[in-house]
Amino acid sequence: MIEALFFTVAVLIAAYLLAPAFQSLELPAADTRDALDAAGDAALRALHDLDLDWQTGKLSERDYRAARATLEAEASEIFRQLAEPGAGQ
């Protein structure tokens, strides 16, 4: 009796597992947009943190300006790429 139950469950599991294997699902292309997105987030966080570091007095004005300029340039380059039509394709 219980063997029959186990057998049925095993068959159901097998059917469920194997079903998608017979479909030819499109494999999603490696997503460069995903990485760019994360880089964008990181760049914005870096700017935000830099501002806080400056406001709480950890940097001299000269260092702050220089670092801010570098980070801004990096961030805008990332967002330029993200804005390009077809980014990540």
Binding site: E26, D31, A35, D41
Partner: protein
């Protein structure tokens, strides 16, 4: 009905093994042939495996609740008089059940991780395969050598009962927390392997790993704390940490995970240390498996016991070696691509502070590893087991901890790249002054212990830096027109990671102060007294009132009544007890603890005479409650730091 539950359990575990192996094959084929359907099959295997582990767990729980002693594990870990909570705790009160709980937790993590990786399809496949390999390993153990559903014929009339040491509420939460921490490290491990395979150790990986390591880190921290609390309240020796191998096994991955939490920030900001970060994750996961091996294989009690006995030890060792070999092999293979861009420009910068931080945490992990393995290695190679004992650990770990404490104040105040002299002076003058003044005052008050003074001064220094950071950040917002409470709240809410991190640091410094004070300034005394007699310990007077004997199901209880005064002030009556578990022939302490912010009074009934005399041991531990409070603060801070932040999309 008999054994019906056992059969369901055995079926679920065996099916689990098959499904995990199928999932590995399907995912691997899907990745190599670039076939989306196979990958989808692999993801379904994760779901089915999770359901099967849930089914097996439900079966085991049913077996416990229905007291089905035809299941050997149930007969071993429970008995018919056991109350409900203890019967449930018995699930993980022995090796086989603990492994099943482990698998159940892994199942939960896997379902969430695989689902949440759907927006990163190229990482999802390899991560799924890696997680399924871990799942398959546990399935091999559960379906074979450690099957919790192994039958017992003929079933005994009653079980042996849960180990008395484990019948305590702190203990009930301790193992699940520890496993949530240990098992959770599989996810960052899988992400690291996936990133190595795809070559995507980029910002996506950084963000995902950080999130996925903070969560198990929180559980691991809680597990360590609960273990310490259990040791303090149940073992009755008055301490909370003994450098016991089982404790060390949980502490090592905590150390490397904490190192990672900091070094990942260098990669995030400067693109440096990529390979090092990957290595830390691989190591952390390796240490969780190694720790489980240490605890579960019996190698610690004796190398020879291990060599003679169980297959399971070899399985663990084989799995661990294969894991490290493959994952570090992948790392070596990617080595060329991991050349990091940046360089450290100045010795006085956030980067160097983090490097020093990592050096200290990794050294600490190595120190603990050496100390833990020393008896095993000496026994294996020289035939004699040499324990290094707490003096070794304390001698090395005290300076390391003080170093970590000081760095915790310095690091956060340093800017990235380089610091200038004016800024250093501006940031460090006040906290240093607070530390020096505080140390002087404590010295004048009679505190002479150099190590403790250093920790107290260091704690003042770090507190100073945290307060300074908070005040300055709030002031900027007030200047912009926000009210003070709102400004403070927004400062925290908008900078969760930073201020959450500071809260964690504050918790850690409270803990270190608690540890330093309670180990440097503890006093203890004991006396054998007749009813009505008194003795003094420090500022306390203890009066012994006599004994009372009673019975609980299966347990003889002996209880002393003790009245306590501080000077002339009556503090209350306390009853330290001794339990004797008849079936297990095991005595246990039930100590009485009077806890306050200032100190703990710890009362132990150690012995008694037939005519009603009793030996009372009294320990006075200053600031122990700071340790628990600091732990809670640290955990809350980390939970705050990892709360999702709104995506800032500026123009």
């Amino acid at each position: 009905m008999v054994n019906f539950v056992g059969e369901i359990g055995r079926f679920a575990l065996l099916a689990g093994l098959v499904v995990a192996l199928f999932g590995i094959a399907a995912t691997t084929l899907g990745l190599t042939r670039r076939h989306g359907g196979y990958l989808a099959s692999g993801r379904r295997a994760v779901t089915v495996w999770a359901l099967l582990m849930a089914l097996a767990s439900a079966a085991l729980l049913t077996a416990f609740l229905s007291r089905d002693f035809s299941v050997r594990f149930v007969a071993m870990a429970s008995e018919s008089t056991q109350p409900l909570l203890q019967t449930i705790m018995a699930f993980w009160g022995g090796h086989d059940g603990a492994l099943l709980l482990w698998a159940l937790i892994l199942a939960g993590y896997m379902v969430v991780a695989v689902w949440s990786l759907r927006s990163h399809p190229d990482l999802q496949g390899p991560a799924t395969a890696t997680l399924l390999v871990v799942a398959a390993f546990f399935s091999v153990l559960l379906a074979g050598a450690s099957n919790p559903f192994a039958p017992l014929v003929p079933p005994p009339p009653d079980g042996q009962g849960l180990n008395p040491l484990l019948r305590n509420p702190w203990m009930s939460a301790h193992p699940p927390m520890l496993y949530l921490g240990f098992v959770g490290m599989s996810v960052p491990f899988a992400l690291a392997v996936a990133a190595l395979i795809t070559g995507r150790l980029d910002d996506t990986w950084v963000a995902l790993s950080r999130r996925w390591i903070v969560v198990p880190w929180i559980f691991l921290t809680l597990g360590l704390l609960l273990g310490a609390k259990w040791s303090y309240e149940v073992l009755g020796w008055g301490g909370y940490w003994a450098w016991d191998p089982v404790e060390n096994a949980a502490f090592m991955p905590w150390l490397t995970a904490t190192a990672f939490l900091h070094s990942i920030q260098i990669q995030e900001r400067r693109g440096m240390l990529v390979a090092w970060n990957v290595a830390l994750i691989l190591l952390t996961f390796g240490l969780t498996i190694f720790g489980t091996f240490l605890v579960r294989s019996g190698v610690l009690s004796s190398v020879h016991a291990f060599a003679k006995a169980p297959l399971i030890g070899y399985l663990f060792l084989g799995f661990l070696s294969a894991l490290l070999l493959v994952s570090f092999g992948l790392l070596a293979w990617r080595w060329g691509a991991l050349k990091s861009g940046g360089t450290v420009e100045s010795v006085i910068s956030r980067e160097t502070a983090f490097l020093a931080n990592n050096l200290l945490f990794v050294t600490a992990a190595i120190v603990v590893l050496v100390g833990t393995m020393f008896p095993v290695l000496t026994e294996a190679f020289r035939g004699v087991k040499i324990n290094v004992g707490p003096p070794y650990f304390n001698t090395v770990m005290v300076p390391i901890s003080i170093g970590i404490l000081l760095l915790m104040g310095i690091g956060p105040l340093l800017p990235w790249r380089l610091a200038t002299r004016e800024q250093l002076a501006r940031n460090f003058t006040l906290p240093s002054a607070a530390a020096v003044l505080g140390a002087l005052m404590l010295g004048l008050l009679g505190v002479r212990h150099a190590g403790a003074l250093l920790v107290f001064a260091g704690a003042l220094f770090v507190s100073g830096t945290i307060v300074l950071e908070t005040v300055r950040g709030t002031r900027v917002r007030i200047r912009r027109g926000e009210h003070a409470p709102l400004a403070l709240a927004r400062l925290f809410m908008r900078n969760r990671r930073r201020y959450g991190g500071y809260v964690v640091h504050f918790g850690v410094l409270l803990m270190l102060v608690g540890v330093a004070a309670s180990s440097a300034f503890d006093t203890q005394a004991g006396a054998t007294l007749r009813p009505g007699e008194r003795f003094g310990v420090g500022r306390y007077t203890i009066e012994y009132g006599g004994l009372r004997h009673s019975e609980l199901p299966g347990i003889d209880v002996t209880e002393a009544s003790v009245r306590v005064w501080a000077g002339a002030r009556f503090l209350g009556s306390y009853s330290p007890q001794r339990y004797f578990y008849r079936a297990q022939e095991q005595p246990m302490h039930h100590v009485a603890i009077r806890s306050s912010l200032r100190e703990d009074l710890y009362l132990i009934l150690s012995e008694w005479t037939p005519d009603g005399g009793g030996t009372i041991r009294v320990l006075v531990h200053p600031l122990v409650s700071w340790l628990w409070a600091g732990g809670v603060v640290a955990v809350l801070g980390a939970a705050f730091a990892v709360l999702p932040e709104r995506r800032r999309r500026a123009s």
